[in-house]
Amino acid sequence: MSRRPYVHEISRTAWFFKRPRYMRYMAREVTCIFIGIYTIILLVGLARLSEGQAQYEGFLAALRQPLSIMFHVLALAFSLYNSFTWFNVAPKALPIQVGEQFMPDSVVSGAHYVVWILLSIFILYWAI
């Protein structure tokens, strides 16, 4: 008799239940669905705006529905989660070397947070 390597099939739909770290990855990926939907809503709003005031008022009214508010709160939470996870891994993609040392991860992701907060303040200030 000779070799007969055994190949283990992996489930294409349930593999991520196997380890917590895969679940965390899936969570990060799933959150972008909400961000995607939010973007579509935003685009729809723009379209309505271009169609005239009445249409836009209708759109705004729809936004005030409890269901819609719930969705937005969720989407905000998820997009925060998504941003946090990405900022935290940013140092991996963009390591910054100064002399022989690499900047500590906290500095690189910290810079992301700082820019993010500054931008948010700027936009909020400008919007209000």
Partner: protein, 585 residues
């Protein structure tokens, strides 16, 4: 039986085997090279070397210095023509590795940095953090990937050499994934099978270091040279034997007995050097044989630290501080914490001497050629000899490069005018090797177990052939080994599966180890003097009149090996006194 044809077959893909393969491939793109190894190349034990590799580069250094350190370190048992060749080739080989991408540590100006090492008077050890051997091995392996004429046979276990018409013309090997025997027909064979440290109960060597390469040549009639010289490294972890690199001491770590006294000063290596300021070639940076022997004496005098793993002394690195330890010795810290539960930053580490390296091996000449035409050997399995009675730390990583290269070129030169062999004769030798294997495979489960025999072998080696030896102990060990070799004929396998049968490999490896162990013990018994790593309590002095000679052990299937002697080549350095006191500096 499936047969592969090549021009040169190399057994072993550690540093020496890979270097030989590259030398061949670069010299001639038409030559077919079969690189055969029982493990994937990057698993070879070269990866375990931490400290570094010696080669003269700095302006304050000279070839003469490296020559004298090596010859004196080897207690004048080195062949000086070989050392001469070796030291001149060393920097070239190390530079060559640099050109292939090896990440040697650097000076701020971008040139290669060197560190101090035991027994070397001048800093000349090139290093890649505490992973020198690892980087050498991976650089070599990765470099081989660009040569299509190097065909690798990974996880093939070489069992026998094919010698016909007085020439070595190939080998047989077991393909582990199928369990089938394969025949390699080649016009020359290079053995680069590594050391045999596993014959000792307490050693720094990986599982693969079972002396297969030595046994292959030995059984084919090539003598094993200077086998009694076994290096005991002073600083092994007391339970696993894991090596704590000499860099622990070159960075400033010190050895203490149970009274926290730096005892090396009592053994001709004083006076004491200031804490944290190690000086070259004295105290903690004395040569390995001397340091290990001093530890043995401290233990005899009852000044050892008692641990559950036996008598130890302390290695104290606390004064180096956490920062330096993390920077220079991160792996050492890791290992102490994992295997011993001790953090060297906060506590002293118990250590004891551990079998580490075989100075002896397959007898070759300067060209890496053995006494059988067409058979070459290089690396730890060979003995050219540059290490003499005691190898200096960081010489052997260079030896595998220099003589791996040499073996490749010598084999190339040799095969150029070789006629093809006699297929029928080689085939029938292959069949015979297979029949032998089948007999072992088919044998009913006998009363001798592989693990049991192995344990008896390592125990008797530990007792009789340790740091200090006596006629009585050696005789007992020789008798025991003869008995074990006889009983080995009865050993049987539990595993009768073809695919990846590690039981079968353990049995074959045990056979190799027993043959090597006997060569070590008998050569030791016959050498009635103390020199370098071979220390006899009944003959305490060096005896240049009788024993300024290499021991040559010749194999016999049924008897113990026959020992003959061969003159040492002395060119410029007559035997002198080894002085490691710091006094005159």
């Amino acid at each position: 039986m499936e047969t592969f044809k090549a021009d040169v077959a190399i057994i072993g893909a550690g540093g020496a085997g890979l270097r030989a393969a590259i030398a061949l491939a670069q010299a001639d793109s038409k030559i077919r090279i079969a690189l055969i190894s029982k493990v994937y190349p990057m698993r070879s034990h070269t990866c375990a070397a931490e400290g570094g590799a010696a080669g003269v580069v700095k302006p304050d250094d000279s070839y003469e210095q490296h020559f004298h350190d090596t010859v004196g370190g080897g207690d004048w048992l080195c062949d000086q023509d070989a050392v001469e060749y070796f030291i001149h080739e060393a920097p070239k080989e190390l530079t060559q590795l640099e050109h292939w991408g090896c990440p040697w540590n650097r000076e701020p100006d971008g040139s290669v940095a060197v560190r101090p090492f035991g027994g070397m008077k001048i800093q000349r050890t090139w290093f890649a953090a505490d992973k020198s051997g690892f980087h050498i091995l991976h650089t070599l392996f990765q470099t081989t990937l660009q040569y299509p004429n190097i065909q690798r046979f990974d996880e093939y276990y070489a069992t026998d050499l094919l010698v016909d018409d007085g020439r070595c013309q190939g080998l047989t090997a077991i393909e582990m994934k199928t369990g089938q025997m394969r025949r390699f027909q080649a016009r020359a064979v290079i053995i680069a099978g590594g050391g045999a440290g596993r014959i000792f109960p307490f050693n720094t060597n990986g599982a693969i270091k079972t002396g297969d390469g030595m046994a292959l040549a030995y059984r084919a009639g090539v003598p094993l040279k200077d086998m009694e010289f076994v290096q005991f490294h002073p600083t092994g972890l007391p339970n696993t034997g894991t090596l704590l690199t000499e860099a622990c001491r070159s960075e400033g770590g010190v050895l203490l007995n149970k009274d926290n006294y730096r005892f090396l000063q009592d053994y001709g290596m004083g006076p004491e050097t200031p804490l944290g300021k190690p000086e070259l070639k004295t105290m903690e940076l004395g040569p390995r044989d001397r340091v290990s022997q001093s530890i043995w004496h401290e233990i005899q005098k009852g000044r050892a630290v008692k641990t559950t793993w036996g008598d130890c002394v302390w290695l104290d690195m606390r004064h180096l501080g956490e920062k330096k330890i993390n920077e220079r010795l991160p792996f050492v810290r890791d290992i102490c914490i994992s295997y011993l539960g001790i953090d060297p930053v906060a506590e002293m580490v118990p250590i004891r001497p551990v079998a580490h390296y075989m100075m002896g091996g397959i007898h070759t000449d300067l060209n890496a050629a053995t006494s059988i035409p067409g058979l070459f050997a290089a690396g730890e399995c060979a003995c050219v000899s540059i290490n003499g009675a005691n190898r200096l730390g960081s010489n052997s990583l260079v030896e595998i490069l220099v003589f791996g290269h040499r073996a490749g070129l010598s084999a190339l030169e040799y095969v150029r005018d070789q006629k093809p062999g006699n297929d029928a004769a080689l085939a029938s030798q292959g069949e015979a090797a297979q029949a032998k294997l089948r007999a072992l495979f088919m044998r009913d489960v006998g009363k001798e177990s592989i693990a049991g025999l192995r344990k008896e072998m390592t125990d008797t080696m530990g007792e009789g052939v340790g740091i200090y030896r006596t006629a009585h102990g050696l005789t007992e060990t020789c008798n025991k080994l003869a008995d074990l070799r006889r009983r080995y004929a009865d050993v049987a396998l539990h595993d009768k599966t073809n695919v990846y049968n590690t039981d079968l490999l353990s049995a074959l490896e045990l056979g190799s180890m027993l043959d090597c162990a006997e060569a070590v013990a008998v050569s030791g018994l016959e050498r009635k003097e103390s020199r370098g790593a071979h220390q006899r309590l009944d003959f305490t002095a060096r005896d240049d009149n009788k024993y300024l000679k290499h021991s040559m052990a010749y194999y016999s299937q049924t008897e113990r090996p026959r020992i003959e002697y061969r003159d040492v080549v002395i060119t410029t350095s007559p035997p002198g006194v080894r002085d490691y006191s710091g006094a005159k500096k």
